[in-house]
Assembly symmetry: C2
Homo-oligomer: 377 residues x 2
């Protein structure tokens, strides 16, 4: 048994919460919204130890531990568990699949109650705000009025910023990692080319492929390959692949980086829905909390921020985190910012768990102590 | 009449040179190789003022001036013409479409003399070395034994390095701009995703689309969109597009950067061949002159180098030019290196012509004077 397995949670289970109808920011509504979620650790008596973990673009509710039969743990198992950054001996951790996703929560692949067929493109446009509104309902359902913290990287960090923006009274702290208040045109451009690759696949068929069982895997695979280039740094690619080449079984010569992309693209199609790709990247591209939403000037808001970026991340470059920090500081928030040195690029938020653990463990402990010691309101 | 038109060349004409059979580096051969080319200015009596201009990936032989009926000048007209960096009052300028291309030179879309049908994937694998070998034959055909210089950006710069590597005795100087001795895995990765986008288009049909007239435009367009993201910098995208949005005639809202990519992708399909895209990017990915080819230690080689890079170019980052310079200096070459400050990214080599002009004009004049004043051999 490896050290990692020793430190992992017992068997975990994905649960499903039907929150009923959800009114969207667009004005539309989705009925019978189901949110897939997992929880780790125990909620304490006064429900003051709950931390929401928000997943990145292609993540899911399974953030930590092993589900029955799993050979691999959840996507942030390095960070969540007994004694880890998000210490399940101390905190109650919640993670859910986003609205619009394809890993148990309601999204374009779900059955539309009105037609008894998959929504496909009849699914309404969703926003990061809608995702967080659904999370808020889940958190309330679990008996929590105010979160100790919300944390997440990449699109998870956007949700964290949205939590602080939309529910500043219901959250003690926020940990946005490798993220931005809004996408730059370069980030939008990468998303758009990925969307075009999906929509150019004839099997996409204007979103109607669920019933044929013949999904636009080629297009989705290309979209994912573009993503993987942006998740690594120039340097981490050099370290991992250099210009190494090898022959395939068919006698073709590929650079290792090509084989890596082919593999990553192909395996992604087995777990992700092409329409979800379109809806969720749109939500990211339209997201923008760089205005004054963070501040309700008339009242004192006491959210503490720990903002983390990584030096080699060129998809969500440090200057974007610095812009967030600048705005927060200008508005008087208690904000700590760390740029972690790393060569891993955007993937660093999933890989540099030693550095992240030191920062987050200490930050959370302080927020928790402050909350316990605060005079009751 | 604008200042630019005043300074431009008279009407120019594309010509075609049939060099016969070309033996390739792979050992294969192509028969009846035609190379499309243009020349500007006049070759002097001792044929000592000839400069070869090598085009980038999607360029062609039409580097400067206007052909009959053209509304726009050649792709480097800012740099080539009377009084310009490559001064046609002084130098004889040659530019040709690369072997494997689709703008007049023999490539996969050309008729295979054996079958009387387009080659498609029967076209043999080609290299940057093969392209330059064809250029060497063209230069000889024009009566030139030794070039005064070879210059070019991006893939043009690769050809320049190849000229210096393969024909060091037949070139006085070399001006590689925004280029590399070899592609990094990140550069290979972008090329490979573009190739996958083309090959995933059912209309690509394993390369056989010439006779149906129904080319893989969707795939080629996506490939080009990926390219355009890498040609600009994060900052130049912000300056050009920010997060501006507008409505299309159909009432859809697109970010300006999306409309730009759609336009650039679509227009590219009208002028470029998808199979050429596959062959030429492969040639770039396999190119590697980072070994000792530059040097034949036993003899003195007197090629002068002017290496230029641009600070915001992340597709061919300055560290790659610096590696070239380091190798050249180590081997004792007379090498000047300038990194030009610019926000334009990789596109800078086409846009920062004021800075380039100052550097190149002076460099070429010096090389020309040295050649004239050298003792006859």
């Amino acid at each position: 048994m490896t050290k990692r397995e020793e430190q992992s949670l017992e068997i975990v289970e994905t649960k499903y919460f039907n929150l009923g109808a959800l009114k969207l920011e667009s004005g539309a509504a989705v009925n019978d919204v189901v949110i897939a979620y997992e929880t780790y650790g125990k909620l304490n008596a006064d429900a003051s130890n709950a931390v929401y973990i928000a997943h990145a673009f292609s993540g899911d509710a399974h953030a930590a531990g092993y589900r029955k039969g799993d050979s691999k743990p959840g996507w942030w198992d390095d960070m969540i568990g007994p004694g880890k950054a998000f210490d399940t001996n101390k905190y109650f951790i919640i993670c859910s699949n986003v609205l619009g996703g394809c890993a148990g929560s309601t999204g374009p692949a779900s059955i539309n109650p009105k037609t008894q067929k998959p929504y496909a493109l009849d699914f309404p446009v969703i926003t990061i705000g809608d995702m967080v509104n659904a999370q808020k309902k889940l958190v309330e359902f679990l008996g929590i009025k105010k979160l100790l913290s919300a944390a997440g990287g990449s699109m998870g960090g956007m949700q964290v910023l949205q939590w602080a923006s939309a529910y500043p009274d219901d959250i003690c702290s926020a940990i946005p990692i490798s993220t931005a208040m809004k996408h730059s045109p370069q980030q939008i451009a990468f998303d758009e080319v990925a969307r075009q690759a999906i929509m150019a696949d004839p099997k996409w068929n204007n979103g109607n492929y669920y019933e044929t069982g013949d999904a636009p895997d080629d297009g989705l695979s290309i979209a994912r390959m573009i993503g993987h280039i942006t998740y690594m740094s120039d340097k981490s690619m050099e370290e991992k692949f250099s210009r190494n080449r090898r022959l395939t079984q068919e006698g073709k010569s590929y650079f290792d980086v090509e084989s890596y992309l082919h593999y990553k693209g192909g395996s992604f199609t087995k777990r992700f829905d092409a329409n979800s790709y379109l809806y969720i990247t749109r939500a990211m591209d339209y997201f923008d909390v760089s205005d004054i939403k963070f501040v309700k000037a008339a009242k004192k808001i006491d959210v503490k921020f720990l903002v983390i970026s990584f030096a080699s991340d060129w998809l969500y470059p440090s200057y974007q985190s610095e812009a967030t920090v600048k705005l927060l500081k200008l508005k008087g928030y208690d904000t700590t910012y760390i740029e972690i040195k790393s060569t891993y690029g955007h993937d660093a938020f999933l890989l540099e768990f030693d550095d992240e653990t030191k920062l987050i463990k200490h930050f959370l402990a302080k927020v928790y102590d402050d909350r316990k010691n605060a005079p009751a309101k």
